[in-house]
């Protein structure tokens, strides 16, 4: 199935079904946030560079 077809199929779902998907997307975001898996959002370029270095160290 192409991406366009998939989007059309999702758009054609009932509001209830789409809200259930919305809830799953949100639950996933909350689960990521709760697990600490999501990298900290940098407020400055310096913080972004620090975060990159931290992730590189973790990968090693």
């Amino acid at each position: 199935m192409s991406k366009r077809e998939m989007r059309a199929r999702l758009a054609a779902l009932s509001f209830t079904e789409k809200i259930r998907i919305l809830e799953k997307l949100r639950n996933r975001s909350l689960a990521f946030a709760a697990s600490g898996m999501r990298p900290k959002i940098a407020e400055t370029p310096g913080q972004a560079e620090d975060e990159k270095q931290r992730l590189r160290k973790e990968e090693k």
């Binding site: 059309a8 789409k18 949100r26 639950n27």
Partner: protein
Amino acid sequence: MPPGAEPVKATLDLINQMQADGVIGKYAIGGAVGATLYLEPAATLDVDIFVNLRADPGGLLLSLAPIYDYLKAHGCPLKDEHIVIGGWPVQFLPLSDDLEREAVAQAISATVEGVSTRVMSAEHLVAIALRTGRSKDHIRILQFIEQNAVNREKLQSVLERHGLTAKWKQFERKFLDGSHE
């Protein structure tokens, strides 16, 4: 289920109860959750509720305080500019102009898990997104256009009534040039 993750149904139930109890007048869901009625679902963390506030008897100013007092009494905590209802952060947006008043007056009835609610029309969602004009609003407008989820004649009529025609032409030139005819 992560903490705070509850169905939107619980959120809508309490908002409907608040309306039945006379705290708010008519309301309509806008923003990303409203757009979900017409488009594929897109991740969002909050619910935008455009609400017709009831003025205090003899009062001139409209205030969100009765909403917050009611919801706090029902155990809903405040979180930044949101109030958390049934696990979802909700932002109540008092109607600020004719476009928003019309959007709520002409909102469409919908149901979520058997709970009745009202959602702005696709044309009003697009007009409000156009007026708001952030990148994510532009992306949403493009989704409405690409998925043929908006009636172009009705949209033109809304845009004309609310002085947004020039802004729409600017949007067309920037994002739809040659692809919208």
